[in-house]
Every structure is written in structure tokens, then in C-alpha cells.
């Protein structure tokens, strides 16, 4: 073999590039076409979003460039976050947010003494405290739920519906695998019914029928109806996620625990659920993300969550034609929240896998 016939050796980075982008002529063509498309889309997009955008100002007249008018978001930022919540009372929402974040950070720290007891305490104390802070009464000014809105409402719906849905879903999953045929039947009917109908009809159902089936004079708040409707649907989906974890657990675990003399509930609480829930955590997170996205549907019954506020803002005559800005802002918040959650669950999953040496 002659020396000049030896293959030319590329530097390592170029070789990687060749293998990943230009392995065959067809590959090279696809790469070039993709690059062209990316360039054609991203350049105008970045120009609109950042370079030509207007950031400072107070009114629509300040936006004279061809780019996005972020002044609009700035002017309406309070509404996007709190809806029509009275200005003077907004500190209550902020305080609750701080409390929740603080509790979450403290509880996720592994070195916290008495971590288990503290978690249970937080779960018992925080939800009623939150309702009191947001709604008022007992010394605080009453803020009707129709004044709530924006991101805070989205988070409220997701968290409170989730607080009902997770325990209910676990019970339903246990019920579906119960030894007792009647319990099993009731759980299956409940789960399959709520999974078979669209969430939008459930929200309609809750807002129209809940007042009807309650005793006369007993009023269920509009927002509470939406929370209950959402919670039932997500509980049914959660149940299926938990069932996956229960099924993945070898029967030997429950059998061993029974051989040690533990009863049904203690077997579940001490042996089965801690392991099963860990397995089904990613699936449950996915259901929670679905819940978070589906809270937007309360728009149908005129409750204005983040997307609803964005939608309503389009009708403001002072800010005509701000559709894209409103959508981009709301969409970005949803995207970062959901993406963050799914990344968190992936991280957890990975940590778990290394912990089990799998």
C-alpha cells in the first residue's frame, strides 16, 4: 500500500462532527437543510424576542419598534401573577409562597432532624393555613375567590387538587388490588369512569351538579368545585400510576410481611407503599404535570388562571394586538414549570436506580 492512500486522519473533534452530522451524503444534506431551517426561523425569532423588542415604557405608544412589546407584560405583570387580588392584600400570597418554598427547601434537606415528623406536620398545617391566608377571615380581610387569578390561581388549583388526588389515588390503587370483590369493583368503576370522560366535561359537571346534590343552603364555592372536579380525575390517573408501582413489587414483600404477623394496613404502610411509591414516582409526576396543564380548563367556567388572564388581557382596548406577547409570556411560564418538574423526576429516578445498584 502506498503511503498517500492511507486514510486522512482528522482531529478528534472533526471526526466526531463527521460521524454525527456528515456520515453519508444523505446525512450531510439533511444536516444542511436543518441548519438552513433553523437559521430562517431563529434569526427573526430572536430579533423579535430580544433585539428589536421594547423593554422600557408605560403605554402602548412606547412600542414603536417592530419587535415584541414587553412593556405590555410589565404593565400587567401584577394581573398575570395575582389576577384581581386586591393590591393591599397581595403580601398574603407572597407570604404563603415563601412559606411553601421555605418548607420545601427545609424538608428536602436530608440532614434535617426529625424530618419525617416535620413533613407530616407541614402537610397538616400548611394547607388550611394557605386557605386562610388567601381567603381571609379571622382577622384578615375577606378576598372572594372570584378576585383570585393568574399564576397564583394556577398554582392553587394544581397544589390543592394534587393534595386530594394523591391520597385518593393511593387508596383507589389499593382498592383495585384488594382481595374483596366489592371494593375492587367499586374502585375499578370509579377509576375507569373518570378516566373515560374528558376533563372539560368533569369541570362542567362539578360546577353544575355539585350545588345540586348538596343540601339546600349549603353553598360550594365556585373554585372549590373546580378543585374537586380536577382532583377526582387526577386521582383516577394517579391510581393507575400507583398500580404500576404496586405491580412491579414482588409478591414476596407483602407475603414476608404477613409472615411476620403484620396486618393489611401495616403491611401496606410499612412495607409495600414505601417501595411501590418510589417506583411509581416518575409516573405520578407525569400525572401531576398533566394536572398542572389541565388547570387551564377552568377558563371554561370563567375562572381566570394564568392562561385565562392572558386571554382576557387581549380584550383590553389599551393594548390591542398584544396576542403574541401574552401567549409567549404565559407559554414560557408553563413550559419552564412542566419541564422543570419532569427533569426533577428524571433526576430522582436516576438517583434511585444508582441507589439500588441497577
Amino acid at each position: 500500500m502506498k503511503l498517500n492512500e492511507l486514510p486522512r486522519i482528522l482531529p478528534p473533534w472533526a471526526e466526531t462532527l463527521r460521524q454525527r452530522l456528515f456520515a453519508t451524503p444523505l446525512d450531510a444534506l439533511a444536516t444542511l437543510v436543518c441548519l438552513y431551517i433553523i437559521w430562517r426561523i431563529s434569526v427573526p425569532l430572536i430579533e423579535w424576542l430580544l433585539i428589536d423588542a421594547t423593554w422600557d415604557g408605560t403605554t402602548r405608544e412606547d412600542c414603536r419598534s417592530s419587535g415584541a412589546c414587553w412593556v405590555f407584560i410589565r404593565a400587567r405583570f401584577g394581573q398575570f401573577m395575582y389576577g384581581q387580588y386586591p393590591l393591599a392584600e397581595r403580601w398574603r400570597v407572597d407570604l404563603l409562597g415563601l412559606l411553601i418554598v421555605g418548607a420545601a427547601v427545609a424538608l428536602s434537606w436530608r440532614g434535617l432532624p426529625r424530618r419525617k415528623e416535620a413533613s407530616i406536620l407541614a402537610l397538616i398545617v400548611l394547607p388550611p393555613l394557605g386557605v386562610w391566608l388567601l381567603y381571609g377571615g379571622w382577622g384578615l380581610k375577606l378576598v372572594e375567590t372570584r378576585e383570585w387569578g393568574g399564576l397564583m390561581l394556577t398554582l392553587f388549583l394544581a397544589i390543592y387538587a394534587g393534595l386530594i388526588a394523591v391520597p385518593l389515588g393511593i387508596l383507589l390503587a389499593l382498592g383495585r388490588r384488594s382481595r374483596l370483590p366489592l371494593i375492587r369493583f367499586a374502585s375499578v368503576v370509579f377509576i375507569e369512569f373518570w378516566r373515560g370522560v374528558p376533563i372539560i366535561t368533569v369541570i362542567f359537571l362539578a360546577s353544575l351538579l355539585l350545588p345540586l346534590i348538596m343540601p339546600t343552603g349549603f353553598n360550594v364555592d365556585r373554585l372549590a368545585r373546580a378543585v374537586i372536579g380536577l382532583a377526582f380525575v387526577i386521582a383516577a390517573y394517579m391510581a393507575e400510576a400507583v398500580r404500576g408501582g404496586l405491580q412491579a413489587l414482588p409478591d414476596g414483600q407483602a407475603e414476608a410481611s404477613q409472615a411476620l404477623g403484620l396486618g393489611y394496613w401495616r403491611t401496606m404502610r410499612l412495607i409495600v407503599l414505601p417501595q411501590a411509591l418510589r417506583i411509581s414516582l416518575p409516573a405520578m409526576t407525569n400525572e401531576f404535570i398533566a394536572l398542572f396543564k389541565n388547570t387551564t380548563l377552568v377558563l371554561i367556567v370563567s375562572i381566570f388562571d394564568l392562561l385565562g388572564i392572558a386571554q382576557a388581557a387581549l380584550a383590553d382596548p389599551a393594548w390591542v394586538g398584544m396576542n403574541m406577547e401574552a401567549y409567549v409570556f404565559a407559554g414560557a411560564i408553563y413550559w419552564f414549570s412542566c419541564f422543570g418538574l419532569s427533569q426533577w423526576s428524571r433526576l430522582k429516578e436516576k438517583r434511585l436506580q444508582t441507589a439500588y445498584g441497577r
Partner: protein, 384 residues
């Protein structure tokens, strides 16, 4: 006595009895309250309202419904609209989903990250956001009818919707459909014959290539021929709007665009997962037996990936059907919008209307899952 209480059977009956009584008591309490409240509010009951005149205008219907028709006809119009948007979106979502899922597995780093970007973008944003975005953000920004975007001067897109031509006469298409069915039957017979011959003599038959011609190219040619021989009602601009043809209203276009692109992201993940579930050893074994790459895909990868892909894809299809109710947010006249919305406001019979709507969705869901279970059972992987 105590021993009797320790008997597991007795205790099982006891708890089940207690649970049943509890459930019945709760249901009885709610029904009692409901009937009391309904009597007080003077709400009508029963299903007679279904045969009353509806008086509700539906701008987009394929059933020939008029406001002077009954509420039952209105419900039927809603069902047809739901099915229409679901079927079209399922077809397009499947195509996009499979393409993106396969691209995600591409060796080309740029292609695979673009596909990944699409999947992550679509999956982490609420569907309602996309519905509203397409409707108020994109379609509202389209030009007026006078400045429509046209495609070959037969299809026109403007803010009043998508105008498409309709055939005046269906005879040509009927022939094409019959021809297609005959060709599919021929292909079916041919595949049985080819399999039998291969079992007997070991000789191979280019079944896929022939099938492509018989079930793909020839029917396509038949439809194109039918299209050229029939006269068409082409939309033309008269005054301020297009007349003739058929107008797909913007609500339909927005809902369809949102549903198909959104669900495609989920289908893509399912497809990627299904294909990745086939172990590398299977592919290597296929190559070692001397199969060509195409046949490895056809004979090794697809048969093993499909049983993994089918169940989750079924639930995606079901989700899409249920999600078509999001059209209510932009007043696309589906079941929820015309029946649970307009008819409920007109008649006030909430309980009956909600019960009917839920029953329809449950039936639709059940029907699709039965169909898919049947398919799944047929294509189940037979292992040792």
C-alpha cells in the same frame, strides 16, 4: 364467639357490607338533595326535551342540520363534528408522531436534537394554550378573504377559514373506492399464497413491493383519475368572501392543528420508547443470520416494537378523542359545545344532558379500547 370474629371470610363480608351501605347512603343523600333542589327550582326532568325544536344555529355541520330540527339532531351534529376532528387529527398526529419518533433515533445529531426539541416543546405546554394560540394568535392574524393565501387557485386560506373544492359528482370516487377494496383483497390473497409457497418451497416473493403497488400506487392513480374526470365546485371570490366548495371554519382548523401537533409529541415518545425496547442483540442476531438492514427492521424490529407501542398509542388516541372537547373553548361545535353548552342553556336540563354527554364519551372510549385490544391480541408477541 371470638373465633367467629377472627374468621377471615366473615370479616371480608362485614367490611364489604359496610362499604356498600356507606356508598349507598352517600348516593341516596345526593339523589335526595338533588331531587329536592330540582323541585324547588322548578326544573323539568325526563328526556322529552330531545324531541323539541332546538332553534340553535350551528355554523359548521356535515349533517344538513337546521335550527328548526330537534335537539336530538343537534346532538348528532355535535357527535359528527367531534368524530370528524378526532379522525382527521388522529391520522395526522400518527404520521407526524411516527416521523418525529424515528427522527429522534436518527444517527444524525442535529436531526435527533431537533426532534427532541419538538417533543419537549409540545409536551410541556397545556393543550388549551395551543388551541387558543392557533385560533387567536395565528388564524386571527391571517389575511382577509380578498388577500387570501391560495394554493394552485383551488384551496384558499383566510381568516374565515380554509376553503376547499368539493366534487359535484361522486361516481368516479365510488369506482376508485371499489377498485381499492378489490386491490386490497387481491393483495391479501397474494400474501396467503406467497406465505404458503414459501413454507412449501422456500422461495421468496417480493410481497412488500407488490403490496406497495397494489395498495398504494394503483389506488392513488385511481383517485387521481377520478379527480380529473369529475367536475369540481371550486371556491371563487365573489364580493367579500369565497363562494362554492366547502369551508373548513377557523375553529376546525385551529383545533385540528393544535390536537394533531400536540398529540404527535406524545406519540413520538411512545414510538421512540418502543423501538428502543428492542435489544441490540436482536439486531445483531438478525444481521448475523444474513438479513439485509431493511429486513432486520421489518422482520425483527417492527414485530417486537409494535406490541410495546400499541397499548400506549391507544391511550393517546383516546386522549385525543377526549381532548377534542377543548374545542368548546373556541366554540368549535363539538358535543360539549353544542350540547353541554348551547342545548343546556336553552333547556336547563343539566342532569340529563350531562348524563348523555358522559355516556357518549364513555361509549367512544370503550369502543376504541375494544378495537385496540382486539388488534393487540392478534399481534401479541408469542414467546416461549
Amino acid at each position: 364467639m371470638i373465633g367467629f370474629l377472627r374468621d377471615r371470610k366473615v370479616r371480608d363480608y362485614f367490611w364489604q357490607g359496610l362499604a356498600t351501605i356507606g356508598l349507598l347512603a352517600v348516593v341516596w343523600f345526593f339523589v335526595q338533595n338533588a331531587s329536592e333542589n330540582m323541585q324547588k327550582a322548578g326544573m323539568a326532568t325526563g328526556f322529552q326535551f330531545l324531541w323539541r325544536d332546538s332553534g340553535i344555529e350551528v355554523p359548521f355541520n356535515l349533517t344538513g342540520y337546521k335550527p328548526s330540527d330537534t335537539i336530538l339532531a343537534l346532538l348528532w351534529t355535535g357527535i359528527v363534528n367531534t368524530i370528524l376532528v378526532s379522525v382527521v387529527s388522529i391520522a395526522v398526529a400518527t404520521v407526524i408522531g411516527f416521523s418525529v419518533g424515528l427522527l429522534r433515533l436518527s444517527r444524525n445529531w442535529l436531526l435527533s436534537s431537533l426532534a427532541g426539541f419538538y417533543i419537549e416543546f409540545v409536551r410541556n405546554i397545556p393543550l388549551l394554550f395551543f388551541v387558543l394560540f392557533w385560533y387567536f394568535g395565528v388564524l386571527a392574524a391571517l389575511p382577509t378573504p380578498r388577500e387570501s393565501m391560495g394554493l394552485f387557485d383551488v384551496v384558499f386560506l383566510n381568516r374565515r377559514g380554509l376553503s376547499i373544492p368539493t366534487p359535484n359528482d361522486l361516481a368516479g370516487f365510488r369506482i376508485a373506492i371499489v377498485a381499492t377494496l378489490v386491490l386490497i383483497a387481491v393483495q391479501f390473497g397474494l400474501s396467503r399464497w406467497a406465505r404458503a409457497r414459501q413454507a412449501r418451497t422456500g422461495r421468496d416473493f417480493p410481497l412488500w413491493a407488490v403490496g406497495f403497488v397494489l395498495c398504494g400506487a394503483l389506488p392513488l392513480a385511481a383517485f387521481v383519475a377520478a379527480g380529473f374526470t369529475t367536475s369540481w365546485d371550486v371556491p371563487t371570490l365573489r364580493g367579500f368572501n369565497y363562494r362554492g366548495g366547502f369551508v373548513l371554519v377557523p375553529e376546525f382548523v385551529a383545533l385540528f392543528a393544535a390536537l394533531s401537533t400536540y398529540t404527535a409529541g406524545f406519540i413520538a415518545e411512545v414510538v421512540r420508547g418502543g423501538i428502543q425496547s428492542v435489544r441490540q442483540g436482536q439486531l445483531d442476531a438478525g444481521r448475523a443470520l444474513g438479513l439485509s438492514p431493511g429486513r432486520v427492521v421489518r422482520l425483527v424490529v417492527i414485530p417486537q416494537a409494535m406490541p410495546v407501542i400499541i397499548p400506549p398509542i391507544t391511550s393517546q388516541y383516546l386522549n385525543l378523542i377526549k381532548n377534542s372537547s377543548f374545542g368548546a373553548a373556541i366554540a368549535y361545535p363539538d358535543i360539549v359545545s353544542v350540547f353541554m353548552g348551547s342545548a343546556l342553556v336553552a333547556t336547563g336540563q343539566a342532569v340529563e344532558i350531562i348524563a348523555i354527554t358522559l355516556a357518549i364519551y364513555l361509549t367512544l372510549s370503550l369502543f376504541v379500547s375494544l378495537l385496540m385490544n382486539w388488534y393487540n391480541a392478534r399481534h401479541k408477541l408469542v414467546t416461549r
